[in-house]
Subunit: 327 residues, 2 copies
């Protein structure tokens, strides 16, 4: 069976070259002052489809044998994985079916449809999304692309780690905490595997919403912990119930202690990204930046690296961040 490792990540990087964007590493002297150390932000909101998920989607779709890929793919997603898979499928010229929660941001649902996908909505509180996805896969002969517990998806997200290793070497940074927004752990584990191979002085730190800190608690207890609830945070993109069965062993081995921030802190991170970096972040995409800026004592070192993972936010939520927290 395919295993998520550095060879798989490097193979994914070859397939992504010229298709995924190499995203910039941004900074501001104003943010450095707030954090009391250098803050370097990997702006993955500038990736195609507005989040890092395009990397995993492209990696998984491009890894399929041509005749399997031609039958189409199905994905189950709160929105960003949906768009990433839909656009990757569209660019490969193959059909996609996306199962999304009915309460996902309107912009994400519309964008997914506009990227050529057939969208099927479900109720996050009462229906089991994984069962819906498995049934569609079986009945319509579509390849199911899981959002994080898939080695090729993890490999795609890991290409961010390869870019970071190069970009941080250019900045002469060999030792730092790397703060990463974390749902099921695909992004964190992919980046962690890449850094383990190419920049072992960099330590990954998953960051979650305060009431959905299953990965933080799982890392502390050494076994998979679950969140008591499924909804109730603005950080919709990372409200997964527990770390994945593939991602958790990787994170257990290489991640530092988990971190968490409140929704209000995520909104404050969005406002600071607006005024100081000129990028648009969604709440889930801002949790790592919020931790770096608002809980600097929880990170270590002379510099902190932040992954700003996505920017697919509806205007009313962005306005709330500006109204309450912009200078």
């Amino acid at each position: 069976m395919t295993e998520a490792n550095i060879a798989l990540i490097e193979a994914a990087a070859d397939r992504l070259r010229g298709h995924a964007r190499v995203t910039p590493l941004l900074s501001s002297p104003f943010l450095d002052e707030i954090a009391g150390r250098r803050v370097l932000v990997k702006a993955e909101c500038l990736q195609h489809t507005g989040s890092f998920k395009f990397r995993g989607g492209w990696s998984a779709v491009s890894a399929l044998p041509e005749e399997v890929r031609g039958k189409g793919v199905v994905a189950v997603s709160t929105g960003n994985h949906a768009q990433g898979v839909a656009y990757a499928a569209q660019l490969h010229g193959v059909p996609s079916v996306i199962v999304m929660p009915a309460d996902a941001p309107k912009l994400k649902i519309e964008n997914t449809r506009a990227l050529g996908a057939e969208v099927i909505l479900y109720d996050r509180e009462t229906e089991n999304r994984d069962e819906i996805g498995a049934k569609l896969s079986r009945e319509r002969d579509l390849t199911l692309i899981k959002p994080y517990d898939d080695p090729q998806v993890i490999a795609g997200q890991g290409t961010i780690g390869l870019e970071l290793a190069q970009q941080l070497a250019d900045e002469d940074i060999a030792k730092a905490d790397v703060l990463i927004p974390c749902g099921g752990g695909g992004l964190s584990s992919g980046i962690g595997l890449a850094l383990e191979a190419w920049a072992p002085g960099l330590r990954i730190r998953p960051v979650e919403p305060a009431d959905f800190d299953d990965v933080k608690r799982s890392l502390a207890s050494g076994r998979i912990e679950k969140n008591p609830k499924a909804t109730g945070s603005l950080c919709d993109a990372i409200l997964t119930p527990s770390p994945g069965s593939i991602t958790f062993p990787i994170l257990s081995r290489i991640a530092g202690p988990g971190l968490s921030v409140t929704d209000d802190e995520a909104l404050r991170g969005m406002a600071l990204a607006f005024s100081r970096l000129k990028i648009v972040l969604e709440p889930a995409g801002a949790v790592a930046l919020a931790s770096a800026l608002l809980h600097p004592n929880e990170s270590e070192g002379d510099a902190v690296i932040v992954v700003a993972s996505g920017g697919n936010v509806d205007a009313p939520v962005f306005r709330e961040a500006l109204d309450r927290f912009a200078d």
Copy 2:
């Protein structure tokens, strides 16, 4: 006397390497659909200090002999040039004095002070800013760095053209209009000179606010025309009275016809940059994007290139763009 030409731009690029950011070229299938052609956006809002002006500031400060530079610099600016020069001076360890209009966005004034500059405010309607700058230069032995009519400033902005030539070659685009927000013409003439040398199939098109279209009218009449008023647009960064005496002859030789958009169109451009590109633009920084998307019949070719020149916008103006024009 130093002349703005391709050799000066390439020398500036050498001095800027490792100091200015190579900004990404962004795109979205949704914007392509609106414009009816490929739209590629050079996101210069992601430059240090939030606008392209850091390039010109760094170019001019770094070109000074060390003993001249050590005495300090003075600049007169609506805000973005102010921050660019102030930060370039701070990074060189030399003092800066910045003359700014009292009605410039609060964020720009505060940022300029925080970047180590001494800020002197003036009244845009009643005082002559150039006289204030010249007097300070004389009395305090500071080198005056003009916002656009300075060969080294033009050379710094021209480094964007060198990056564009490379990035567009990677995209297999050899022929297109390049739409550029235009005040005094430093950005347009610098980019134009670089493209003339390295990508002659690309034609620059200056874009201005509708009631401040002095460059458009000057290009049409063949002589320097002035704007009847000095204030009255949200596009504060590009409300210059007329094209410069250095920039106008360059633009006359190499620019295509000028373009213009209303303030409402600039706000709509900002909303589309928010939802589709995940970048923050100020009104002046969005005029070229607005022209490409909302007046596609005024550009030519299979693709249109847009310079998104800056993102230094106060939250209330950004909120207005979202309230009125976000989906």
